[in-house]
């Protein structure tokens, strides 16, 4: 398997008046054309890792890494212009909540076309054609109608599909999905995951799937990275989840109530300081 | 961020204030105030603003000690229209031979009087009208907002002008006129704030405790509106100073020989070509003080009302 992305000792920190916040403290992994899940509880640095790869860390944040390599391109050394050209074209990202991550005053169609026309020289009409095709690919039933709708006029599930269409239309090689379904209803959630699953498989993309739901990640991805306090505590194949070594991973797995299982009280995590060390 | 959990005797005062587990109501309150204060002081311009205001208060309080001359009695015969820097007269003299510096010093009292009175009259009116209107909704809201709208539909200065024309010129009437015209925006702000707060879960929670509407407005809604109101009032102080000066400039505000800055500009206007300082000095005084309030208000907004500051 070819390596798409290499991350070595990635650190993200935010200097603030009260001290430096270390959001990501040395994360290393490699990714091929596969699905990699990143899980961890809130604030563990999942999103920051994803954004650092995209080059979307806010200005005042500091990103360092021994290596950050995408398809042979050294992202650390790359100029902002180069990185911008990568974004959307070769690396794409889906955000958590379509309600907030689509521009509210621009029609969905235009937002999709915009991605395309930023990266490829295409005419208006052609862009529209391809956007409609993409909308169809994400299983929107009436693409022509949805094309002209504004984000507030569609449901969450539809919005998330539009978001996927917008991010995939330029044919990226790597997709980072940052909790793409956590704002959606459970039933809709599965639909969206199915669409993503198919697209990734069809187009042969690498996928980084960020979520706090360990069970979901393990059922969706090939490999799982578990993060705690800005660090990777465990990395394992999805199939091996039941044999997770780290108590944190075990805790995450067990603390969820399940239909049919009868555990009163639920096991809770007993956080130990040495995990974060 | 993480202060030691147990209060050790070695804990500094700063740590005590910043403790994330305060031991008493007082400590909690002081801690909060301290954090606000630190946020505020981090904004250097805001501190400048505060210093200006403190200086204004100081000058107003000790005007009689600071001033070198009588603010109203001048020396028409010998000291008329002297330029700044003339011996004895730091900022020069006006057309009645009065020391401009001393007049400015005493004028600070009038400026303070105006803004304090206007704030004391209009802010509470706006707060009450706005919160009651926003919380009660329905016809109460409709009626109160109609009245507010009527006042807002008037150009403020024109309305103030008309009121002063009706009441007669003078500083008291100017204050009343400005107060009458400045409460509606406060009512609007308080109402908008109340409307967002009204639907929030924490107000629902208090309702679920069985609190009366009166109690909810007074103890839960108003405190939330107050900080944005304070910010707005502070920012408005500058506007009030300018309106008062504008009225003074049109001859409808404070009356001679009162050393009101706007009126001083008006009387100095005649000499603007040859004796520029007569009009320029009070203008600069107004500029500095209202800049002070604007800087202070800006800083307060950042410290008290981060959402307004766009963060």
């Amino acid at each position: 398997m070819t390596t798409l992305l290499t991350v070595d000792n990635l650190k993200v920190s935010y200097p603030t008046r009260t001290g430096v916040i270390e959001a990501v403290r040395g994360v290393s992994f490699t990714l091929g054309k596969e699905r990699l899940g990143i899980v961890g509880e809130s604030g563990s640095g999942k999103s920051q890792t994803g954004r650092a790869i995209m080059g979307l860390t806010p200005k005042h944040g500091v990103v360092t890494a021994d290596r950050l390599d995408f398809n042979g391109i050294d992202l650390i050394k790359a100029s902002t212009g180069e990185r911008r050209r990568l974004r959307g074209k070769r690396i794409a990202m889906i955000l958590q909540d379509p309600k907030y991550s689509l521009d509210p005053v621009m029609s969905i169609g235009r937002q999709i076309c915009e991605t395309l026309r930023t990266h490829e020289k295409v005419g208006k009409a052609e862009a529209r054609e391809r956007a409609l095709a993409m909308l169809e690919a994400v299983q929107i039933r009436d693409p022509k109608r949805v094309f002209d709708l504004h984000p507030h006029e569609v449901s969450g599930g539809m919005g998330q599909r539009a978001m996927i269409a917008m991010m995939l239309i330029a044919g990226p090689e790597l997709l980072i999905a940052d909790e793409p379904t956590s704002a959606l209803d459970v039933t809709v959630q599965l639909d969206v995951l199915r669409i993503m699953d198919r697209l990734v498989a069809e187009r042969g993309m690498g996928l980084i799937f960020v979520s706090h739901d360990l069970r979901l990640v393990s059922s969706f991805c090939d490999r799982v990275i578990v993060m705690y306090a800005g660090k990777i505590v465990e990395e394992l194949a999805a199939a091996d989840l039941k044999h997770a070594q780290h108590p944190y991973t075990q805790g995450l797995l067990n603390c969820m109530p399940e239909i049919g299982s009868n555990r009163h009280p639920l096991p809770v995590l007993d956080r130990r300081p040495e995990w974060a060390a | 961020m993480t202060a030691p959990a147990s209060p050790s005797p070695a804990m500094s005062r700063r740590e005590w204030l910043l403790s994330d587990r305060p031991q008493s109501r007082l400590q909690a309150r002081l801690g909060r105030a301290y954090v606000t204060w630190r946020q505020f002081t981090a904004n250097r311009l805001a501190v400048v603003g505060l210093l200006i205001i403190v200086a204004l208060l100081f000058v107003a309080a000790f005007a009689n000690l600071i001033a070198t001359h009588d603010p109203v009695v001048g020396d028409l015969r010998n000291a008329r229209l002297l330029p700044p820097g003339t011996a004895e007269y730091l900022l020069g003299t006006d057309d009645q031979g009065r020391d401009i510096f001393s007049r400015l010093i005493y004028g600070s009292r009038l400026t303070l009087l105006v803004i304090v009175l206007v704030a004391v009259i209009s802010a509470p009116i706006g707060l009450i009208v706005g919160t009651v209107s926003g919380y009660a909704g329905g016809w109460v809201d409709a009626t109160l907002m109609r009245i507010t709208d009527i006042f807002l539909a008037f150009p403020k200065l024109v309305l103030a002008l008309a009121f002063v024309a009706a009441l007669g010129p003078g500083i008291q009437n100017a204050i009343i006129a400005i107060a009458i015209t400045s409460w509606p925006p406060y009512a609007r702000i308080a109402r908008a704030e109340t409307l967002t707060v009204r639907r929030s879960d924490y107000i629902s929670a208090v309702k679920l405790m069985g609190a009366s509407p009166f109690r909810i407005i007074l103890r839960h809604v108003m405190p939330l509106c107050i900080s944005s109101l304070i910010v707005r009032v502070t920012l408005d102080m500058a506007g009030i100073i300018l309106t008062a000066a504008g009225l003074g400039f049109l001859g409808l505000g404070a009356q001679p020989p009162l050393p009101e800055w706007g009126a001083m500009i008006a009387s100095g206007r005649r000499f603007i070509l040859d004796q520029w300082w007569v009009a320029a000095m009070p203008g600069i005084a107004i500029l500095i003080v209202s800049l002070g309030f604007n800087l202070l208000g800006d800083g307060l907004r950042d410290a008290l009302d981060p959402k307004e500051a766009g963060q």
Binding site: - | V72, L76, L81, Q255, P256, R270, F271, L273
Partner: protein, 516 residues
Amino acid sequence: ETPKDTLVEGFAIDDIITMDPGEAFELSTAEVTSNSYSLLVRLDMEDTSKVKGDLAESWSVSDDGLTYTFKLKSGMKFASGNPITAEDVAWSFERAVKLDKSPAFILTQFGLTGDNVTEKAKAADAGTFVFTVDKAYAPSFVLNCLTATVASVVDKKLVMEHVKAVTPDAEHKYDNDFGNEWLKTGYAGSGAYKLREWRANEVVVLERNDNYYGDKAKLNRVIYRYMKESAAQRLALEAGDIDIARNLEPGDIDAVSKNADLATTSAPKGTIYYVSLNNKNENLKKPEVQEAFKYLVDYDAIGATLIKGIGEIHQTFLPKGQLGALDENPYKLDVAKAKELLAKAGVPDGFSITMDVRNTQPVTGIAESMQQTLAQAGVKMEIIPGDGKQTLTKYRARTHDMYIGQWGSDYFDPNSNADTFTGNPDNSDAGTVKTLAWRNAWEAPELDKQAKAALLERDAAKRAAIYQDIQKKYLANSPFVFIFQQTEVAGYRKNLKDFKLGPSFDTNFVGPIAKE
């Protein structure tokens, strides 16, 4: 730069409310009217105690002193081209009397009423106008009154085309408005210039009248541009945006006179500035207090600063230039003397008092100065400022304590001032003759009687002596503190020729002015 054929004056013309000579009674209107309408007689600019003919070629007074016969010059035309006849003169008198607007009393004081005016002012033939008065007044008085703008001759034929029908009622017994509505902004005269347009608080535009019977005006157009501020006028003058600045204040006069391109000219005017003390106030009523106040004005300082160039200290009620004016200024700032007088009046520690003051210079400055000098004698004076209309409303309601005012003669005759400063037939609040004496609730029956007698004194010298006597008594004992007589000053660009200010507001003629 202003155009070569146009004169532009910067002038505070905000007092203009009508252009109808039968109605207007304002100073700025007087100037415009005198330049655009003709009169039977005008003041003689060489000697302002005399008059000379304008439309009238000559005139005679009957022996009984009741009948005045005017012979008109021949071949004169209105601006409209209509000939000027005695009929127009008679109708102008009739019109003013029947309209009965503010200035009508200048004519009606000679016994004219709506019912008898056609008899008393009538055309004997096309070239002869006969005017009959009810008493044997001093001819100087009658002729002086006829120089007032209310006696301007209007173009009967033209006005008749514009009269509006009205329904007669108790107040106005006639079925038309004598063209009043039209004439408010219209024009029907025969002066050197004709009125083209007046826009309130903006501009008055005059154009040369080519039908003028006298010396034709030199320039095509005269524009009075509304400018209130002295500084603004000076700026515009310096920049050449105006040719004449009419309302300069002392500081700006200095600057203008130092400027090589500019010059100034001045002339004393009939306006007197005074401070009056209301006799309704217990303290101000006392003669000692009144005298004390006369010692509490720093005349010298005021004269040297606040009114420098725009006025002269003057402590009597008749302005210099009028018949019988007394030129005596006995009072000086004397705080000790004043304190003595106040002690005598029983108020050794002073008292508190208010003064209503208009928001204009120099009165505000003078008021402030007085505030300071009065304080030296323990009198605390509070200034209540207001705009002109506001303070006047109060003054006319007699609810003031002190008032700083200015008074310009209604017509160029000593009787105008003598009457208003001494006459007060009914001192009750309901009194209808609201003279200045009445407004301050002051009665001086002796002086009033003297003034009335002077009216009938046909010998001008004797008449002058009576007025001087009245002024002397007045100076010693009256609730009026006279401060100064106005000098009108104008700054102008040196390329103007023959620009002069006259002795009164209706003698500032623009006809002779030319440009180089």
